[in-house]
Amino acid sequence: MKKYALLPFNFTRLSGKEVLINELGDMLISPIGTVQKIVDHTLDDEDLYKTLVANSFISEELLPTLLDIYASRLRLKKSFLDDRAALHIFVLTLRCNQNCVYCQASSREEGSAHCSMTFDMMEASVKLMFRSTSQHLTMEFQGGEPSLEPKLIKFGIEKAEEINQTECRNLSYVLCTNCRSLSDELLELCRQYHVLISTSLDGPSYIHNKNRGREDSYEKTMAGICKAREVLGNDAVSALMTTSELALGYPKEIVDEYVQDGFTDIFLRALNPYGLATENENWDLYNERFVEFYKTALDYIIEINKQGTFFREVYAAIILRKMLTPYTTGFVDLQSPAGTVNSVLIYNYDGYVYASDESRMLAENGDHTFRLGRISDKYEEIVYGEKVRKIGKVWANEALAGCSDCPVKAYCGADPVRHHSTQGDMYGFRPSSFVCKKNKAIIEHLISLIIEREDEVMPIFRSWLR
């Protein structure tokens, strides 16, 4: 073998193999002992040597000829930073027409007063959104239940369209709704401005109704989904599920429900420790059970795909995109530097701007740590202010204890808000971190599937990335 220099990489051991992962997130599966041989310069396998050179784990020159390309690829992996915040969440109201048992948003009764955004706040928020330099701006309407404030939605969209006459950005709209109150007028507005509907469906009626605290919830949601599909088309309606403790026992039934309802993907989301969900008694146990639930459901989804039905698990697809392509994702929970502020800003009904959706949920429990400023404040004071500078010290996993040495950090992200919420410290302590345990378990499971069942899973995984 020629003399060579090492390039930055890390490694782990899974399923009887050594998994080498470089700075770009490129992965190489090799026999146990490979890393020791690389470090000792005792590589004796010509093919392995060539593979290591070709995949930028070692270099025959001290300064690799392809370093500029390597640097361009690294820049591409972090390109979400170029755009600044593209996702702008407008929390229109805390009013809601459901009683979800795990409500993370601290929603209030439908008739409650003083918990909705004013029109002036909406106008100021829209103007603030346009201060972001991103060419793509997504206005996402959330609550409570935002469809209870249809006039505010209309006003917000029309204001954005008006400003965009001169700004010329790519605007898109998402309405996060439980689909109980989708009026004809609201759907017409959605049709006119191509508003996407993101609804919540937790699975079959016996899970959904229990989670949502109403016996007719499943029926109403399904009716709303059908109505929205008729007006907007199937592709304009997507659904999310949240894995309550009850749901943990029904992975296959939940997947079946989504397939039967005509959805082509599912996002298997764990409960987050905000709002009512904080009352969950044993998060350690929940976390362990969620990972098992996830693995069972994913295995079942792979079987469904093998039988010829395209059906994607979104969380896996996000991780696989980071693992198997040169590109990044817009998913704010798995970014480093964190999606907090960098990719998302929240304009809350209370007149304040928050660093993330979870930040405003914390605020409902009196924790204003991630409140960045008033909607009426200057953009620069909000996104470059003292609070953001403080968060910025702990939002890159390349510089966090436990993360910086983690072999799978390229596929994961930093989450100062979650660590503040669960550990009382936004820096976070990785050995007992739920975020770390969950993400690492899922990422390692995906790598193990690729090692153990490559021929079977890779065509499916690649189809999820198209």
Binding site: P8, F11, V39, L62
Partner: protein
């Protein structure tokens, strides 16, 4: 249980990383005696398994440290090229 670790073989940085990852499950006390570090761990039920696991982690962190030390300069250049305005770095400048 007690472990004795030769600090000429395993530096503090590697031992600290292993201790960090185990510190949510065990109470760990560290004491330096000459070139040896004496590590006392409370809460271990299977000492043989624990020792195996501890040294596996330690060896892995040592390997990572070798890789990191050897690639520190190239990583710096890589990040500078990716996110800065340094397009004219030469091989001579690295070896200096």
């Amino acid at each position: 249980m007690t472990l004795q670790i030769d600090r000429k073989i395993y530096p503090d940085s590697c031992i600290s990383k292993v201790v960090y990852w185990l510190s949510d499950q065990y109470t760990i006390d560290r004491c330096l005696e000459g070139n040896n570090e004496i590590i006392t761990i409370e809460g271990v039920t299977n000492e043989q398994l624990f020792k195996k696991m501890f040294f596996e982690k330690l060896n892995d962190f040592k390997l990572r440290e070798v890789i990191n030390a050897e690639t520190k300069d190239i990583r710096t250049i890589l990040y500078a090229k990716a996110f800065g305005d340094f397009d004219d770095i030469t091989e001579e400048e690295i070896t200096e």
